[in-house]
Assembly symmetry: C2
Homo-oligomer: 166 residues x 2
């Protein structure tokens, strides 16, 4: 089984796959008598044939090293994951290569960032490795008449083992 090292996530490295949403580097406004910092409008929701809605996901934690055997993508919308605890979570992503995932890359997101995976980007399922496993998720909610084909899955020919360190 081939293996992959998860790198700490950065906005720059993750840019081909989506947005890292964080206070670091974001423009700051002081509100509430200076007792609160507001970092405005950090995400771009990209939703087709539906609307952006708020859901909760409660995921089981994944033991490391993590065995990734499946990637998926959502042709109709971006998907934003907001950890609601001191969670670290894995992000396994890949460029598209003729309708299938190209070479995989793995990131480790720490507790202070949210991540907005771009529409139609290949990614592994939500895989928290610490914390409560509870996430707020902003993604496409289909209409009654158009539930939508918003999930495409790809089973890897060979599973990949994701680790933290070489």
């Amino acid at each position: 089984m081939s293996s992959l090292i998860a790198q700490p996530i950065t906005a720059e490295a993750f840019a081909p796959y989506g947005e890292v949403i964080q206070t670091e580097g974001a423009q700051l406004t002081l509100i509430n008598d200076g007792l609160c910092h507001r970092f405005s409008d950090l995400a771009s929701f990209d939703i087709e044939d539906g609307r952006a809605g708020l859901s909760f996901f409660r995921s089981q934690l994944r033991p490391m090293p993590y065995r990734c055997h499946l990637l998926e993508r959502h042709p109709l919308g971006s998907q934003c994951f907001i950890p609601m605890s001191d969670a670290e979570f894995l992000l396994i992503v890949a460029p598209d290569n003729g309708g299938k995932p190209g070479p995989l890359t793995a990131f480790l997101a720490t507790n202070n960032v949210a991540v907005n995976i771009a529409r139609n980007t290949w990614h592994g399922v939500l895989a928290p490795v610490a914390g409560s496993g509870l996430f707020a998720v902003i993604d496409r909610i289909g209409t009654e008449t158009n539930g939508g084909q918003n999930l495409e899955e790809h089973l890897l020919e060979e599973a990949v083992l994701v680790k933290y360190d070489q």
Copy 2:
């Protein structure tokens, strides 16, 4: 100074002021090979002359008892607070009484709920009492041509002291 006891928040008690967003009582879908519970579409964003955007707020924690001297409301949009740590936060709300806040009510929200304050509902500022103070917030982002008069403030004639227990 008059005082007020913060009650543990429930969806029913908070309903006149907005939504409590939680897994409890929400419809569940199993995803990701059964390893993740999805609770879909839990919030109603009510935004006028703009769009719902995602921001981060980092607020100072407030010592208890908490002295509330100011309420505010947002005529152009609901405001949804999602705690990103094991935060407990105070919600001080009031019905409208002829353009001013009526009698105040206080709630304590625990770490596993988010809260969507209804458009034009009087409320105190974000007041976490535990955790990191970091919140994801979904509220109105104004347009370039319409930044919007989306903040109305009301200074209380007499501050109110908010406590947990009688």
